[in-house]
Symmetry: C2
Subunit: 280 residues, 2 copies
């Protein structure tokens, strides 16, 4: 299976490379705005250097592919409309147009928990504590975006559904509402420097620090669980549009993993609750 | 109450003017891309001539208003992305930005049944017949757009919700999934020339004609019911985001009017079933 991966060298893209690059089932083409850092693990990968806002470049990269994993986009919730308009709105349109034209079977779209972020905002911080969350958000709940970024991802979900239900290709599209995938060196609920859990912004042991850790015990998706979820999306024969929560089997998660379990056989191995402390 | 009405001279805008222009509660400002036809009923109305894709023009028109009814946009399901991008995507963004900046209390957004159009497409034509539809689509059902137009309206709904839940203004936004409002001369389920029910495209009495009429008996919203729904939206004190189905109390409707009944006191007076034949 030939698979185009856009946004290949970010946190989520590298999790896919780490888990699936050597799988004999897949032949990946990596697309990113820049070549990978030569000194990194990914330094020797051939890369299509392109911006997903460039429709022609995406169409060229999609030719002869069987599937596309579309991760590229502006990733922050503090973005303005101008930040998300080209990379996210036009980017996902270009991805789906390319998939339709090149007759790709499968599109996997990196959506985000921020499509549903107001459910969290309304219930935080109580939501983060206790052994089980008071609700489980699923693909059937109305969207409540918390940012232009979240709105742009909701738009991408709607567009995926429209393409699957109205055109011959793609046959299936899966929108993953990614909760929190971390870099390899911080692949646990204690986070990474970029995300403010363990970067010195919060004093270790402070209330703010504990709150961030508690949140992450609900939101974390380990890199192997994320890679496994992508693998499940690529392997299924079912046609149609689906929304999955990208999260590990965390006791205190408030995003439901039932649809992913039932539809694509997602079997996460990790649970944020198993981490009492960051590794030494 | 000062009310800005965008897209004032279309089918829906004129229904509002007909019902509410003379109400002492309201002082309307009409915005459209063109002056009204001088020979029309609306020929003597002052008009702000502007395109809603022009953010500055919308902001200027919104100053000193209390509410905005945002109807302007590209209205056809056969539109391409380029057709809907500026008028609908950028248009609703401009409307909400203007509402936030000018501190408008209320936004009413003309969404569309085409946000949910695939439920109909999947169940037509059986859905049109019988005394009661097999399902009632509500604000709680996942969106299934049938066109770029439908996707653009779903985007508008999401953006309305985001603004209401994240900014001080607007205090409330109501997205109305308009089913079928007709011109005054065809204000019944037998339709108008533009929409192919009674324009000679289908021979009267043919299967196609009967099917179109059956559909319209479910989808019609009379001009007085639409005007009344807008009035309810403007009069409510409740804050928040809501989605309503814009449809009369048709026996065979498949869009639920419960949320509008309960939230804003919508009491439609018309029912497509009362029409056995077009008026003489």
């Amino acid at each position: 299976m030939n698979v185009l991966l856009t946004g290949a060298y970010g946190r989520c893209g590298t999790a896919i490379i780490d888990q699936l690059h050597d799988e004999p089932d897949y032949e990946f083409t990596y697309l990113d705005r820049e070549e990978p850092d030569e000194s990194s693990t990914y330094g020797d990968h051939d890369t299509v250097v392109a911006d997903v806002a460039d429709g022609l470049a995406v169409r060229e990269a999609a030719a002869d592919q069987d599937a596309m994993i579309h991760l590229a986009g502006y990733p922050f919730t503090d973005g303005t409309w101008d930040d998300v308009h080209q990379p996210n709105i036009i980017g996902v349109l270009n991805a789906l147009e390319a998939a339709r034209e090149a007759e790709l079977e499968t599109v996997v779209f990196a959506s985000s928990n921020h499509v549903m972020g107001m459910y969290e905002a309304e219930n935080a911080p109580d939501l983060y504590y206790g052994s089980e969350a008071p609700f489980q958000l699923s693909h059937e709940d109305p969207v409540r975006p918390d940012s232009y970024y979240g709105v742009s991802k909701s738009f991408g979900e709607d567009l995926c559904r429209y393409y699957v239900e109205n055109y011959e290709y793609p046959k299936r599209a899966h929108a993953i509402r990614i909760c929190s995938v971390r870099m390899p060196e911080y692949d646990h609920p204690y986070g990474d420097a970029e995300h403010g859990v363990d970067d010195g912004e919060y004093e270790r042991g402070s209330d703010e620090y504990e709150q961030q850790v508690a949140r992450m015990k609900g939101m974390w998706q380990s890199r192997r669980d994320f890679g496994h979820m992508i693998d499940c999306c690529l392997q299924t024969d079912e046609a149609g549009f689906e929304i999955f929560s990208g999260v590990s089997d965390n006791d205190r998660r408030w995003y439901s993993i039932e649809n992913a379990r039932e539809t694509i056989g997602y079997e996460p191995q990790d649970n944020g609750e198993e981490w009492d402390a960051p590794p030494e």
